[in-house]
């Protein structure tokens, strides 16, 4: 896990120095898109071939839904407080 963060930080530093090379950055963004396609494809294959996960897909989906509800409801209620306290008054 530290590897992931370290590699990304190295990328950030390199990216900062390359920030004016627009063409390279555009190619980089394309590569990201395709790397994501590839990795999610691989993820799909790994899951499809895994009988245990395939059987528990509905359960996993329900858990995912519960986490989504928690995350969304938690953040919009806090967003309401932030809005009332710090943003709303400025508008009028």
């Amino acid at each position: 896990m530290i590897t992931v963060v370290a590699i990304m930080t190295a990328g950030i530093v390199l990216g900062y120095f390359l920030r004016n090379k627009t063409r390279l950055i555009k190619i980089n963004d394309k590569l990201i898109t395709w790397a994501i396609y590839l990795l999610l494809f691989i993820l799909g294959v790994g899951i499809g071939a895994n009988e245990i996960i395939m059987k528990s897909l509905p359960t996993l989906g329900l858990k995912a839904l519960a986490i989504t509800i928690g995350g969304v409801v938690g953040s919009i209620i806090l967003a309401w407080l932030t809005y009332i306290k710090f943003f709303k008054s400025k508008e009028q």
Binding site: M1, I2, T3, V4, V5, M8, A10, G11, I12, V13, G15, Y16, F17, L18, R19, I25, N28, D29, I32, A35, I36, L38, L39, L40, I42, L43, G44, V45, G46, I47, G48, A49, N50, I52, I53, M54, S56, L57, L60, A64, A66, I67, T68, I69, G70, G71, V72, G74, S75, I76, L78, A79, W80, L81, T82, Y83, I84, F86, F87, K88
Partner: protein, 200 residues
């Protein structure tokens, strides 16, 4: 939205091919995806480092703008902690890791799959896709009842791209910049927070 569909298409195609055993076994047995993840993280790093938009926005806005991503991070953590109490079979850490994708389902599910477990990766993928979809569907309603920041926080990392149009429409143009800034900050934070939680 179109981008999300393509991404899900690749995932589903993989799922079907894997399920029906249509791939040569060396593809399934040799797992190169770890290296692919490292490669992806390096590229993502480059794109973050090269993007100075967030800094420019900071120059033109006061620091209050940071309250919005902070609200999302804290609000999500609180909401998920409560939900954790009623979900069986997942540890506190696992639930928090999934929630810390903030809608950035591609990257968070990949990181979780590679560094933790496949089944939690699936939960992360589904949960974060649902976060994007519910924001797309409910943004106008959120603004009516909970104010103009609500759909931005609900959208999480997607508030800079896929959910930006609906947020701009629901909250107004003034909030487009805040939405963009919020999405950029969370997009940068996702890999760090998810890896951090999983390493605890």
């Amino acid at each position: 939205m179109k981008g999300s569909l393509i991404i899900l298409g690749f995932f589903t195609a993989g799922l079907l091919l894997g399920y029906n055993n249509l791939l040569p076994s060396f593809l399934i047995e040799n797992d190169y995806s770890n290296y692919a993840l490292y490669f992806l993280m390096f590229l993502v790093g480059i794109s973050i480092g090269a993007d100075t938009k967030a800094f420019q926005m900071l120059k033109n806005h006061n620091l209050k703008i940071f309250l919005v991503p902070l609200t999302t991070v804290v609000g999500t953590a609180i909401g998920i902690s409560l939900i954790y109490l009623i979900i069986p079979g997942l540890s506190f850490k696992e639930v928090q890791a999934v929630g810390s994708g903030y809608g950035y389902y591609s990257l968070s599910s990949i990181i979780i799959t590679e560094t933790y477990s496949k089944s939690l990766g699936v939960v992360a993928l589904l949960s974060n896709v649902m976060r994007e979809i519910s924001t797309l569907l409910l943004a106008p309603l959120m603004v009516v009842y909970l104010g103009k920041i609500a759909p931005i926080c609900s959208g999480g990392a997607t508030s800079m791209d896929t959910t930006l149009p609906i947020i701009t429409k629901a909250s107004g143009k003034d909030y487009a910049i805040i939405s963009l800034f919020h999405g950029i900050v969370l997009t940068i934070l996702v890999p760090f927070i998810v890896s951090l939680i999983l390493s605890l």
